[in-house]
Symmetry: C2
Subunit: 253 residues, 2 copies
């Protein structure tokens, strides 16, 4: 068994603990939580500490705290030459104190409290400073997920930007669609099957192949009708720039 | 049984025919296809005509052709006072020749050839000029789908704009995410579970409630790091306007 100490008791930490409890490779021997009363599902309260000096020796320390706290927390680990990783998408490996061996163990998914997730489907992005550490992290990752990727800090930065476009911005476009529906007394649920199909399509087609709509067809009549329809300046601007980008993209092919 | 003649043999027409064949309420007695050799699945070749003068009398004529051809095709129907509908999202009911009773029967989904769809989940938007016609269309719709909506031509125009934001533009953001991944040698599949979760989330939360990311948190440090990372002018502009829109939206709440 690989012994692991988890530092943090937030969403990601809790989901990791629940996943590791079912694993036959990993033994979570201790959890650090500032709040000793943290109700950690599937974990014995007696194994929780709020004192860094009480941290046990383990094969791996996983820091799962707010991005801005990763550096300070890594300074407080009272060991040297141990393997210490964080779980953040936007923090470089170099933010970890170099007295220990450093790595990243980043599960790419949105975690919500009280909503269990199927960890086996969640991609885990791993980074380490040497091959031995990488192999250990890979073993830990494979004990809970089928999808392990070797992603360095530069790539993780790019991945984060790509995720903002493909998820955060996408959700905002849903919000605009929702608003237009509300203003015209159309139930937003009419669009939901199409939204799901749009997301599912890119499992088998590239997004460029899957592109449809008036911009793709360069259908200026419909585009102008839509621009006339839109009254809000920001919505109009978003419509224009995304239409331009789709048309320009088509020309490049 | 309600007798139906379908005019057209494209994707939507073919999917409708396949769905109606299984229905116990609707009998597709004839299909009009310019090309008599059109291979229409689940439909007898002998019931296909390419001559408008040979059209049979029926309770309902469904015109399922390219948007720009709807008007001309409706002129060629050799009957009067029959119920004639089209299946287009962006054509007004008034485009149909007024010698007949007019309506719209618009299934809102992307149809691909050779990919069967579960019609029961597809929303069908119905419009008619009187209650009797509406009820007939509703009966026809309910024979293949559980989701029937009363949507007039003005609403359908708004719905089309909302669909462009929530589906066509969304797909383009996937394309940008894909491009950023490719340029950084990251497999795009890493993002797919997150993309699916983002689409699924809005079944239970409104998109405004589901919003996450640096813009939502007004995290200017991350936003600036991302803008520095992006090199393409159009990508930068899209990032800026969507970030601004998310921040402005937050202020309104």
């Amino acid at each position: 068994m690989i012994s692991v100490v988890i530092i943090g008791s937030g969403n990601v930490a809790q989901h990791l603990i629940s996943a590791f409890v079912k694993s036959e490779t990993v033994d979570v021997i201790q959890v650090f939580s500032r709040n000793l009363d943290a109700d950690i599902k599937n974990f014995e309260a007696s194994k929780i500490t709020n004192d860094f000096e009480q941290l046990k020796e383990a094969d791996l320390y996983i820091i799962s705290v707010t991005d801005t706290a990763v550096h300070a927390v890594s300074n407080q680990i009272p060991f040297e030459k141990k393997l210490v990783v964080h779980t953040s998408g936007s923090v470089a490996i170099s933010e970890l104190n170099e007295k220990n061996k450093r790595g990243v163990f980043y599960p790419l998914q949105t975690f919500s409290k009280n909503k269990s997730v199927d960890f086996s489907e969640i991609p885990i992005c791993i980074e380490a400073e040497n091959e031995t550490d990488y192999q250990l992290l890979e073993k830990v990752g494979k004990s809970i997920s089928e999808k392990i990727f070797n992603i360095n800090s530069e790539q993780r930065k790019a991945l984060h930007v790509a995720a903002v476009f493909s998820c955060n911005f996408v959700n905002h476009l849903y919000a605009i669609g929702n608003k237009i529906c509300d203003e015209n007394e159309i139930p937003f649920e009419i669009l939901q099957p199409l939204i799901i199909e749009t997301a599912n399509k890119i499992k088998t087609l590239t997004p460029v192949e899957a592109q449809t709509g008036p911009a793709k067809r360069n259908d200026t009549q419909t585009i102008n009708a839509h621009l006339n329809f839109l009254q809000e300046t920001t919505q109009k601007e978003i419509y224009k720039i995304l239409t331009k980008s789709i048309i320009d993209n088509g020309k490049k092919l």
